[in-house]
Symmetry: C2
Subunit: 206 residues, 2 copies
């Protein structure tokens, strides 16, 4: 049965991107460092049709994340940064249908092996469309931080996998910020250490 998951890397000090992100610098100042473990992974590179990279002890975890995901929901800012001149270019690293949360209606953007669909009527509608596209697989909230926070606040997120990168970035976009709601107890379902990153997987109460 479809689970609604988020799967994202943050630094030990809680950042998913560096400061001053935008179309010029999609991940903000120094933000590439955060996700470097993934870009360096031979498993990730192979899944996205790229050569090279290193065999890592968490390769199977990266493959599992990719295989279980049938569709993604993405915030507008992540889309706009990634779709810009310094972003993912003609080959976005998703290869699954992506539903973008936005306030402006626009036609779907069709890429070689996937489509960005723009959803103007909120996260529940985006989730419903992503569920339909995902079939038996899971729906992943790709990010950014704001989209993940919206799903947590709405009680819609069922699983959260945080890859804690072993670095203090010092500034940037925090994954959680001040969610401001009642405290949420998490149930750890897997903890895995790997070079440069510790993978923490949790179930959220539903």
């Amino acid at each position: 049965m479809t689970q609604v998951i988020a799967d994202i890397t943050m630094t030990l000090d809680g950042f998913v991107a560096g400061p001053d992100d935008g179309v010029e610098k999609p991940l903000g100042e120094g933000g590439e460092r955060i996700h470097q473990w993934l870009y360096d992974s031979a498993s990730w590179r192979e899944l996205h049709g790229r050569e090279g990279g290193e065999a890592r002890s968490d390769g199977a975890l990266v493959e599992e994340s990719f295989e279980r995901t049938g569709a993604l929901v993405m915030g507008k800012r992540m889309f706009e940064n990634g779709d810009g001149p310094n972003g993912w270019g003609d080959d976005p690293p998703f290869h699954k249908p992506v539903f973008v949360l936005t306030h402006e209606a626009r036609k779907p953007k069709v890429q070689e092996d996937m489509t960005f669909t723009f959803v103007t009527d909120g996260i529940e509608s985006a989730l419903e469309q992503a569920r339909a596209a995902a079939g038996d697989k899971d729906v992943a909230v790709a990010g950014g931080a704001n989209a993940i926070q919206q799903f947590i606040k709405a009680g819609l997120l069922e699983e959260l996998q945080v890859h804690v990168a072993h670095v203090l970035l010092g500034d940037g976009i925090p994954l959680f910020g001040r969610l401001g709601q009642e405290q949420i107890e998490l149930e750890a379902t897997r903890v895995m250490d790997a070079p440069g990153v510790t993978h923490l997987q949790f179930r959220l109460p539903t």
Copy 2:
């Protein structure tokens, strides 16, 4: 040889205390939840002369933290909150000399088995006095967040152990906030999972 360490619990969303901390609520709103794993630990309770608690898989880690520490440095706010009417009372859970960073000179406060010494001339002076008191053991920066941040920014912290509590608190006092300096690469020296908390130990570059 003496190491300068910090050893503190934060929630997955990065808080070491709840919001609105003060002498009335030393750990802020809901802050007891953060440190509950430690208070529940039979090892911690025994070290601090208290009965009860549960045998936990991380008992040896708690004992190691206590045994290796010869003296502590503490921020003024943590001291004042803890020393207040709802704080630690006549039996502070340190049992080692504590050097409190403050701007107001005052005489040492002598407790049954330890003394609070007030240091008005900065963190390097506090560290020097704590080193002298620690002998061959380590100096621990007890907290709060601000004191730990000062030691990180000054490049004085050699080891950081973060106990990540499996809860999203939603608001409070962040351990790191925006340190604002150049990024700091961390070397993981131990990762240990335990009920309700994941222990991450890092070396900082010196």
